[in-house]
């Protein structure tokens, strides 16, 4: 039996065209659903894309060690402290690994920078070693970065934090306190402009102090949130990771409570928080898609009821049940696909509009286009099949008898 695709298509076009407003409104339901899903995914991919760009800019010789099963909270500069299984002894143990060029621990210090009167919110205080500057590519606009000989009472702060604390970017020599501990600013970082990066720190709003000082403030054996690694070259990275892995496994008594992430995997936002937020957003967006689908089913049921006589007649002149099913299914598929394409376009318009208020741009990927297409197809299929089967099951005699 032939599918009669072109016939069904022209048929569906005629039927949809003769009820233009109804068709438009039904498609709109799908459009809104697909648009919201597209927006969420495009912005989410934008976040991932930023980190991806940083990684590829870093010649592929970067790896990070993170304590497993913890989120290090790197969403839009918000810092979340979590128990960690990495400690300074781990950092020390791996620092001498052959092939490793630099390594830098990141220790989050609870508390925030303040000048007594001004206490900006959502800032981070991290303790680290001087090599962080080269791994994370931090540049200093004024003064200098921490080094081996600088005083422990000194700190380097981000440009935005400098503005918030002192009202100027030129704050070298000024002092601020963290947990009653006084620090002198010896350097201000160049604007980093990437609140989301593989270090998990918004450097524009962070104060960076010596690891030794951090240990003093947090107590010895204080956990590290992350250790950044930089191999001598991209080729060495695999070997370095292997060595460190065995090393750490030994010192953790075979308990694999850490993860070493390298390459493109770093680009994936690994925080559970981020994934949860994106998952919830997609779920909420999907609800509007569901509502759109119900709209399609509703209108298709109306359409089937309206065309009962036509169905009876088509059966009388030789249409099989499959013909009738396809006729109505294709109609709902056209509506959902048209709505889906419109929704995809609208979704990006919304995403770009929103991104003007954010620090990252939405990303075009085949993945998102595919999701939009598949979602709208599935919706058209799922919500179109019942009305179509209902149409095909109609008794031709009863249908032909029905007057309108």
């Amino acid at each position: 039996m032939r599918l009669l695709l072109s016939d069904h298509l022209s048929n569906a076009y005629e039927s949809l065209h003769s009820n233009r407003l109804r068709t438009f409104l039904t498609c709109l339901g799908i459009t809104i659903g697909v648009a919201s899903v597209t927006t969420v995914l495009a912005l989410g991919a934008g976040v991932t894309g930023i980190i991806g760009k940083q990684i590829s800019a870093l010649d592929g010789n970067i790896a990070i060690i993170r304590p497993q099963a913890t989120g290090s909270g790197d969403l839009t500069g918000q810092q979340i402290l979590t128990p960690s299984t990495l400690t300074e002894s781990d950092y020390k143990a791996i620092a001498a690994t052959p092939g490793l060029k630099h390594s830098a621990p990141i220790m989050l210090i609870g508390g925030s920078a303040s000048t007594g009167t001004i206490k900006p919110r959502d800032t981070a205080v991290i303790a680290t070693t001087p090599s962080l500057a080269s791994i994370a590519r931090l540049d200093v606009r004024d003064g200098q970065f921490l080094d081996e000989v600088t005083n422990q009472q000194t700190a380097v702060i981000g440009e935005q934090l400098s503005v918030e604390l002192f009202g100027t970017e030129q704050s070298v020599g000024q002092t601020f306190t963290v947990k009653k501990q006084r620090f002198t600013v010896i350097g201000v970082l160049k604007r980093f402009n990437d609140p989301i990066n593989f270090s998990g720190v918004d450097f524009d709003r962070a104060a960076i102090i010596h690891l030794e000082m951090g240990k003093k403030m947090a107590g010895t054996g204080a956990p590290l949130q992350q250790i950044n690694l930089q191999a001598r070259s991209a080729k060495d990275l695999a070997a370095v990771i292997r060595t460190i892995d065995t090393q750490l496994a030994r010192s953790h008594q075979g308990d694999k409570d850490y993860t070493i992430i390298s390459g493109r995997d770093i680009a994936q936002p690994t925080t559970h928080l981020f994934k949860a937020i994106q998952g919830v957003s997609v779920a909420i967006a999907s609800i509007s898609l569901l509502v759109g689908g119900i709209g399609i089913m509703n209108i298709m049921l109306v359409s089937v009821a309206e065309r009962t006589r036509e169905i009876g007649l088509r059966k009388a002149v030789g249409a099989s049940n499959a013909h009738i099913i396809w006729q109505f299914l294709i109609e709902s598929l056209i509506m959902s696909l048209v709505g889906g394409v419109a929704g995809y376009v609208l979704g990006y318009i919304i995403a770009f509009t929103i991104s003007t208020f954010l620090t990252f741009d939405p990303v075009f990927t085949w993945y998102i286009a595919g999701v939009a297409a598949v979602l709208s197809l599935i919706v058209g299929m799922v919500f179109g099949i019942y009305p179509a089967i209902k149409a095909a099951r109609k008794d031709p005699i009863e249908s032909l008898r029905q007057y309108r």
Partner: protein
């Protein structure tokens, strides 16, 4: 096909029964109908309301399945076949004409006529050509791209007949084809059916109107689901008349 008898049998019914309801509400709309329809017959089925005429027509047209009995169409038993198979038989061997025309209002006349060909998988161009050819025979060529709502009742029914005829069916089933028409349009439509009959088509028509039996070659009266009488009408002289273009008949034959 080579074994062409004098008159090949198109339909053979044996003990055909159709039951509605169960138990106390049991009711036989068809109660043992035996009938043989030969090629080229024009059968008028008469009878009071509820005697089973329409049920019989629906069973003949494979729109309804009999409860019991045998139905052979062109020598093949059809009641055991799947519904998809029935659909194919409807598209290839049966043409329907309804009381209320049942044209699809959204599509033009020519597309309505071409509709049965769609389900035989014919390409659109070929379909429309074929439909146009049939419409030409009915002198409705200039109405091809009208919509059903723009046609008179008589014209609508002629379009419906054209549609029934477009796939060269073995049999045409007409359920009160003139039931919704005034007497003038009725006349035109009956002339059309009668003309088809003269050209060798097999027609089964259900009607309430005794006058229309004059067009038929055989009249069957039904009562309570059974055939009460079955009369063959001898060929009249009228059947030799030449076909006259339909549009002009009412003026010439009026009153």
């Amino acid at each position: 096909m080579a074994k062409k008898h004098i008159k090949p049998v198109v339909i053979k019914l044996k003990g055909l029964k159709k039951r509605y309801g169960i138990g106390n509400a049991e009711h036989y709309a068809l109660d043992g109908v035996n009938l043989v329809i030969e090629k080229g017959e024009f059968i008028a089925i008469m009878g009071p309301s509820g005697c089973g005429k329409t049920t019989l027509l629906n069973v003949l047209g494979l729109l309804d399945r009999p409860t019991d009995g045998d139905y052979l169409l062109d020598g093949k038993a059809v009641e055991e076949l799947s519904s998809a198979h029935h659909a194919r038989i409807r598209s290839e061997q049966i043409g329907f004409v309804f009381q209320n025309f049942n044209l699809i209002p959204r599509i033009s006349v020519i597309e309505n006529v071409a509709l049965p060909l769609t389900y035989r998988g014919m390409r659109k161009m070929k379909r429309l050509k074929e439909a146009s050819r049939v419409l030409k025979n009915f002198h409705l060529q200039e109405r091809e791209y009208y919509y059903p709502s723009q046609l008179s009742g008589g014209q609508s029914q002629r379009v419906a007949i054209a549609r029934a005829l477009v796939n060269n069916p073995s049999i045409i089933l007409a359920d009160e084809p003139t039931g919704n028409l005034d007497s003038r349009s009725s006349h035109i439509v009956m002339e059309e059916l009668s003309d088809l009959h003269r050209r060798g088509n097999t027609i089964v028509m259900v009607t309430h109107n005794p006058k229309l039996t004059t067009y038929a070659s055989r009249v069957i009266h039904m009562l309570d689901g059974k055939i009460a009488s079955d009369t063959k009408i001898p060929v009249t002289a009228e059947s030799t008349t030449e076909k006259i273009p339909l549009g002009k008949i009412p003026k010439e034959k009026k009153s």
